[in-house]
Amino acid sequence: MCENRNRSTRPPRPKLISLMTRTAHAKPEVLKGYLDPRIQVVLRALSALTVLAIAVPACYMLIWSTWGTEVVGRLRSLHEWSLDWIAILLRNPEWRASILRSVMLGVGASFVGAAINAAYNYCRRFSGEYVKNATYYTMIVLLLNPLIAYGMAVRSVGSMLGWSPWLLLYFGHLLVVLPLQYLVFEAGAGAVQDDTLYAARTCGAGHAGTLVHIYLPKMRGAFLTAFVLGFFVSFDEVVIALFVLDKSASTVPVRLWRGLSEVVKPEAAVVSTLLLCTIGFIFMVRHFASGKARFFSISIAERVRRQAVEVAISVGAGILVGVLPLPLGSLEHFVTDLFVVPVMYFALNTVRARSPIWQLIAVANVEKPELAGIPQEFAFSSVESDIEAAEFLRQGRWIDLSSQALRSLVQACFAKCNGPYFGTDRNVPSRFCELYPNYLKTQLERNETVGDVRILFCERAALLADQASNEATVLRFVKDQTAAGVLLLRVGDAIALREANNCHLHSGEFGVFGGRYVLFFHRPEAAEFTASVMLVPVTKLLASHLSDFWRNCILNSEKISASDDKLAFLPLEAQVELTTRFEETLRIK
């Protein structure tokens, strides 16, 4: 490679934005169990106070926009709420002009800032260390710069050169958003490894091709985040605008600031509410945009049916919320439904999509095989959950589940399992029944259990000892499965675990449901959970590893049966057929 590939230490990654973007993946509970109870009480009290001090004014602002009067600090009575202030603000041509200017400035400055940062972030991969260090320290200085002084400087330049105040304001906003967007790009830089770009260059791609086809698609998230952040910062910027703009024209924050000398009306609260609605709108667009990619993959009638069910639930909940306070107020409360319906709709979806168990069940039921790589027959009623599920599936995370959650997941998995089930477990039968009381029942309630195989990773002595102490449970465990046609095998746990390690499996304990995806099990770290699970689709590579593992286990296994109320261990015949059947189930060509 002919480019400069200086990989010495980069400037330290900016911490604030980095953490904000990584916070969902950060290791929680670092200090759990290490804080003195008395100190904990003090910390919790301070924390509660802090959250109150932040949350209460924010909530008050929303209340102020609907119940506010012209007298600051005086609200109307509960049933006198109205949207008058929003209407007044939106009908006022001066306010409309200010909002339009602020939006245009925000979009322009933020987009250009994000583009400059993206270009820098790409080019710095091919540049020396000094550029990175110099840029880093420049951005820190810019971040700490008092804007009042800079505002004075811009004003001075404007009066000297006779430039338009809007042009000056645009440059000022650009400078304000640049360091913040720089932090966002630095935090998101890990999305594209330097090696990926070098590889593209080595393979003959030009810089333009590498930028367009490799860098930008991977940095799309950082670009959008930087744009949104820059837009809000620019929209909210008041200091430079105060110095540059005269009284005839103003942006939204300048109008708010200059309105201070008059009566303090709820206009600020209205603007803030509108901002929050804008954020909600952005999320809504993102929500539908993510669904759009799959719009043509299902029939329109089916899509309409699904959406109709969810909207009906939301409308019902919204009307309920709107009607409940009716005795206290007037028919105006029905207007709340306009707000409550979408809120309820998104709340329902958010709760469902974010919950790990819902994600897992959605994965088990996911309908879009082209997204998740899993079969068509696993249908689910929610488009959004499918996408969440597909994303979740790609990530392949371990999730701790309670026994209730695990039962729901297993039921969902078996309900859609249109083929034989192959499972392994390292618990002795009594412990298995204790941990998963409904697992066997769910498995055996299926119509076709003949062909299912379960391998227990236990030593013979352990099984016999378990039978001696829990005879009824163990015998029922074996007899139920044998009667249903399930082949029950045993392999020494040392062999199984070593083979799982050799075959690069996430865990030796797993269940293969119909051969399309695998549910790996793991012992949970926390005592309150039953199991830690990971659901992954069967790719060609995984199928190959699973197949190797299965073959080696089968070669070392023996059959378990119960005769005369005693456990018997018989040599396994037809090992090759069993291995072949497993491979066919995984559909390895």
């Binding site: 929680p28 100190i39 802090t50 700490l144 001075s156 810089h207 924050p253 303090v264 609260a269 803030s272």
Partner: protein, 294 residues
């Protein structure tokens, strides 16, 4: 062609610095030149800008430091709670710290004015009336509101440090018989001292440049240097005096920042040189040892 592409890319890497030079350094230089020439606008010989600066800077720094201190204490406490509870607690606290940032700075100050005015009058809720009166148009109110503005920064910086904390020293301390209180005071707090110091400095630097909160919450009773600049400019139209006061504010912030940056740079350089010396010494020992053996 490839050389040209390389030249373009290596030049474009300077894009950010060039942008800053064009839009930040050049205006500052032009401003300073016009100020030195006295061509920046109207000037009143009766206004002693330096006296005004000295009368305002004490209050500005005192209130900024108090607000930064409150923010560091509350932000650290919240971050500690976040990492000592469940993941859900941390997510909720992070959301609580993030959402207000999206609501607009002036609007948040307005909300405080409305809230405090609401309860400063008659209210049946205990303490709220006296609490509101103690905050509205008072220095304490400015400190509290500025503190709430800075808390998210402190929270995120301390949380960053805490999530990187290794459990090994904590386990070792417990194995050796240290109580939880000792672990907190001797291990946990010293571990986050660096990020607390950075958060405090950032908050102070940001606070010194503020003027909206003192005007809205202080009601004009407690002015910062920024308010002085605005008064000179908007009320009296004294552009030169306002510029001079602005320049003094700029120097108040940037000189300590520059000196701190220089100190950090020199310290790092010295450390690097010491490491280099150790490596060279080791290398010379390594080369000398076989020679002696021969």
């Amino acid at each position: 062609m490839r050389k040209l592409a390389k030249l373009v890319v290596s030049t474009a890497a300077w894009g950010l610095i060039v942008s800053v030079g064009l839009f930040y350094v050049v205006p500052l230089i032009i401003w300073c030149i016009s100020l030195a020439r006295g061509s920046a606008g109207a000037h009143s010989p009766g206004v002693d800008v330096f006296a005004l600066y000295w009368s305002l800077i004490g209050q500005t720094i005192t209130l900024s430091v108090a607000a930064a201190l409150a923010a560091v204490i509350c932000g650290s406490a919240t971050a500690l709670v976040a990492v000592s509870g469940h993941g859900r607690t941390r997510e909720l606290l992070t959301a609580a710290m993030t959402v207000p940032l999206l609501m607009g700075f002036i609007a948040r100050n307005y909300a405080w004015v409305g809230l405090l005015s609401q309860f400063a009058g008659e209210t049946r809720v205990l303490f709220l009336s006296s609490l509101s009166r103690a905050l509205l148009y008072k220095q304490l109110g400015i400190v509290v509101v500025m503190g709430t503005v800075f808390v998210p920064f402190c929270y995120f910086m301390v949380l960053q440090e805490l999530t990187g904390l290794s459990p090994v020293p904590l386990q070792a301390a417990r194995t050796m018989g240290a109580s939880d209180a000792t672990i907190f005071w001797r291990i946990i707090l010293p571990s986050i001292r660096g990020s607390q110091r950075n958060a405090f400095m950032l908050s102070v630097v940001l606070g010194v440049g503020y003027f909206i909160t003192p005007q809205l919450i202080g009601g004009g009773n407690f002015q910062f240097v920024g308010n002085g600049v605005l008064v000179l400019l908007d009320r009296f139209g004294l552009t030169v005096d306002a510029s001079l006061l602005g320049l003094l504010l700029f120097l108040t912030v940037m000189v300590p920042v520059g000196l701190t940056g220089l100190a950090i740079y020199l310290k790092k350089r010295q450390k690097k040189q010491e490491q280099l010396k150790v490596v060279r010494k080791q290398e010379s020992l390594d080369t000398a040892a076989p020679a002696q053996a021969d």
